[in-house]
Amino acid sequence: MRFRGGVAFPRELKPFADRPITGLPEPAEVLVPLYGGPGKPCRRLVERGERVEEGAVIGEGDAELAAVHATVTGTVTRLETCRLPAGDEWPAVRIRRGESAAHGQEGTSRAPAATLPDLACQMGILGLGGAAFPLHRKLRLPAGAQVDDVILNGAECEPCLSGDYRLLLERTAEILAGGLRILAHFRAKRLWVGIEQDRERAIAAVRRATGGGRRARVFALPARYPQGAEKQLVRTVLGREIPRGVYPWQTGVSVHNVGTALAVSRAMAGQPLLARVVTVAGEAVREPGNYLVKIGASLAWVLEQVGLKERPEKLLVGGPMMGFAQADANVPVTKGTTGILALTAGEWPQPTPCVRCSACVEACPAGLLPLYLEGYTLKGLFAQAAAHHPGDCIECGACSYVCPAHRPLVQSIRWAKRESGRRSPVA
């Protein structure tokens, strides 16, 4: 189906796709947040001073949260509160790298998981597309629910990022194996791999790997942002929309990032999720590219490894459209860190009056009228704003991106969302 709204970025915003995934060395120290999913932290299983092996469980997984593992072998030096990239404060475990107590033994032996959700929980798999939602919660469906289509999301969720693309090129077989495992779990009928049209090499690689098989097929997506957003992806691939207020599985579809599929594949081989691919880029970075980074390594350490040309004016975790600006670089890489961007220009220009050019209306993939939402919100007319459905905004930022008046549209809509949640919304 034709993509609705959105923006097409110039080609130069999709750089560094030719840089193979490079492993960064082991960090001397990691700060692993006890993050197993939204809501509450995982129960901590280690104490200060304790020696831990790489891959040892330090945060307990349960029905809602995925387990958290030590990502290096060493000693727990501190139990502290860290700031996650999105700004929340979260308990975390600081581990200083050291000699392994027992050489040659990897991790601790654990009972093999019976089902895929149990495995995903044990191996600490969160959705790697950026949202970091526990995979096992997406895999467990209420009785009677049936998923027919599994979509692997290979549409880079943001410009400037190329991690998904590199994974599709370099780990094709493992990604497909992970995808087929998810397919088998759901007893679903079709496995789709959605890749943007302009990523020809990845499309070719996956086509080759599937061998024209009927169970997994490549879907060439329009190269428009936000094609990587779940609802937009479902619309493009399956030609139908997920009704408002309904979960994708209720319509028989389940969407997973290609990195998540790779993590499933590795979990099947007994490997917990300890590292992820992070695109490090931005004008301030000397060696931009795609790096395999241990969870818990600090942004400052990553930037040190890849080298900085100058002091960044703005440091983003995620992409330039939805990423979070960081106040300082002592924030750990998490399972949701798709990219680290060190920019040399940070200031957003002063907004000028809205001229009603309708660029935001044309760009909105959700079908909203961002100019109305902002106009009402900034006047404090939250009831009127609520009548324009702020809750349907996916905060992709396309409206703010195209706005010639530099209006802070997304920011205003977030405000409207919060206020409409607080007051009783207008029907």
Partner: protein, 316 residues
Amino acid sequence: MVVSPSPHLRRGRDVAWLMERVLLALLPATFSGLYRYGPAALPVLLGALAGAALGETFWLVALSRRGVIQDRSCLVTGLLLALLLPPRFPWWMALFGGLFATGLVKGAFGGLGSNFLNPALSARALLLAAWPVAMTTWVVSPDALASATPLAGAFPKETRLAALHLPWTVLLRVGGGGSLGETSPLAVLVGAAYLLATGVIDFRIPAGFLASLALGGWFLAGSRGLGSGDPFFQIVAGGALLGAFFMATDYVTAPVTRGGRWIYGMGCGVLTLLIRLYGGYPEGVTYGVLLMNTAAPLLEKITRPRLYGERGPFHR
């Protein structure tokens, strides 16, 4: 380091960039008018521009708003107004029109983005009411004269539209005379093509406008009964092209929704035609577009885009 909410990326366009595109797109029509009428047309051009800039500056100073004059929108208003006036129109009347456009129609309602009527068209409407004789003292283009009836120097526009039965192919090149900006429909089309190609304007408004005008013209405006009219004559004669591509597409006063734009454009065309054929005014574009301006908020209300996942008439 700078901390700000997402997004952190923006397209390089700003309002001044958009206004500059419109100014550029108006240059062919402007030069065509200046070429046709010579230096005699300069006073009206400069008068309207100066008036619009003065009206804008008044509000900027009064409200201590700085920087907004840099958006060039007042120059667009001034230039559009000049193109809507007769070439030998007195400069001080044009200046008054410019002042009215940006000072009252635009500035008094909150400035850029807040006016509900198109400033240039409102000014033209005011001038038509204030100085009807001056506003309808046209200079007939020599080319048009050569290829048609040899009418004397000045004559009312309605006579021109009714009596000058030029084939539209000739009109496309030379225009029907009339306002400064109506000397060459071709020049207007060149500018319009530029605006469409750069994505500054949306095709829906001019398409609806011109299609309804042509269809209505073919159906109603013929001398041999219904369906005998020349559809192209209505488009190329008078200010229809200028109106469809440069007036009706004014961001501020047009609907922001796609459906709204179709209805709005068609409404402009129908009203223009009705005024031309059955109204007492020489040309219908001004009032056609102004009337539709007032309908824009309502059109937006009834054509709200379907939300993602919302059930609607086109839901699958």
